[in-house]
Symmetry: C2
């Protein structure tokens, strides 16, 4: 089993916030992740929320800025927050904030130089999943959520794995990466020029073809988000969902932007949305 | 009047988080500060909480990590968060994290090279006070709070100005800077070798001599704080207060450390403590 190095441990509300480092076989580098556990005596088998972060983030952004521990401690929910890409010397990178380290896009890259390390989909779905189950005994129900690139990741992993995640929520997700600048840049580099290979990683395309179990989805989008019309456009996703008779709740949040201030405002409602699915 | 440059504006809960920059006459440099305003229609004359941050912090740490906006929005409280020292090229500094920029200690320095710029006490009590009253019409009741060096700052400004602040709260304050490594280093540099000049800036000494109005004080101290016995020792302050028959509430928080995770856990209770004083 992977050797886990505990980097941080902080009491927060009635739970504990941890940060760990481990050697990832899938990514071929050391990776950090953060893990929140609610009170172990009160909540012996907590459900687990996966939080996927956005461009430039590490696992710290959500842990430090979202204030989610308050609600997670109250509801009895564990939370795991992976990093957003492989990291380190010798790992392919770019000077741009939206490509390379900090911008893994939750896909498995097929193109050099990225394909050697950029396999975030497999890392999360397999390696980190096995680790968190074995090391922390988190074998209960799972939910997934995320922001921007990570909101896309939450929709991607959720739609591809309907038996795995009970519910999906997203803040300002990149719903159609094949058609917007951030996604086109990432997919061209990680997946290649041939766009045929992109569809399996594009959440709008996945929804257009979707015929599986309809995992409940909640999306919050601020109308003062500077990336709203250029990179995000969640209404397209809702429209495709409607054609599949797949109910998606999209909430346009007045005056809210792309920052963690928006996440901190609504994260409690996202956690409650997930817990409500558990109780159905 | 000072020209204010608005750097950021974010909707958060039912309020707005701002960040500003202005040219400070008192400090002789450009300074940033953050300001939270609750819903202007619901709360037309909000009381104002001053938050003083700890070593290495800017105004961003509290704004991003404490999650205080949730409670402030609900209670209808404005919050102003100054930076922790003068900043910039040409401003005296040190390579150490606990001296110079990021470590102003809320005093007026008398020793060179610090005395030219390090006048955080006057900056907050006079210049920033005038600015916030004139520019934002915040002329209502005031409270003060802070963390570590800023917890010391909150006690210092609060005890020196009993007619100004309705109540004082602190997280892990440096109550006796004259006698602990952080404070001795700062005071020696900013105030000089002659310790006679230190007493007026030492909150334990101020409490020992105190005979003014007894502003209510709440202190939270984590028992897993790595600086608890070396730098903080709040029990000394409570003991001195008891001798002056000055009631101070000290809460030792089990398992909590020196981080913002502790602040995020208890900040709501601090804001409620202040609001309760207002309602008495």
């Amino acid at each position: 089993m992977t050797e886990l190095e505990r980097l941080e441990e902080h009491r927060v509300f009635d739970g504990v916030q941890y940060k760990y480092r481990h050697q990832s076989k899938t990514l071929g580098c050391k990776m950090t992740f953060s893990l929140f556990l609610p009170n172990k005596e009160t909540f012996t088998e907590p459900p687990l929320l996966w939080w996927l972060s956005g461009l430039t983030c590490t696992d710290d952004n959500f842990t430090h800025k979202a204030g989610a521990q308050r609600s997670a401690a109250r509801l009895g929910m564990a939370m795991i927050i992976p990093d957003t890409s492989p990291r380190g010397h010798g790992i392919a990178d770019s000077e741009d904030y939206d490509l390379g380290q900090g911008a893994g896009f939750y896909v498995n890259a097929t193109e050099e130089p990225w394909s050697a390390h950029y396999n975030m989909y497999d890392y999360i779905m397999d390696e980190l999943t096995d680790l968190v189950r074995a090391e922390f005994n988190l074998n209960g129900p799972e939910f997934i959520s995320g922001h921007s690139m990570g909101g896309y990741g939450a929709l991607l992993l959720g739609l591809k794995n309907p038996d795995r995640f009970k519910s999906i929520t997203a803040f300002a997700p990149i719903v159609n990466p094949s058609q917007v600048p951030w996604g086109i840049k990432a997919f061209t580099n990680y997946l290649g020029e041939n766009k045929d290979s992109w569809a399996q990683w594009d959440t709008l395309e996945l929804m257009k073809q979707y015929s599986g179990k309809k995992t409940p989805i909640l999306i919050d989008q601020g109308d003062a988000d500077q990336f709203y019309s250029k990179e995000l456009e969640p209404a397209k996703f809702v429209e495709a969902a409607e054609e599949r008779q797949y109910p998606v709740t999209l909430r346009i949040q007045k005056g809210h932007d792309h920052s963690y201030f928006t996440i901190s405002t609504f994260i409690e409602e996202h956690l409650e949305f997930h817990m409500n699915e558990l109780n159905k």
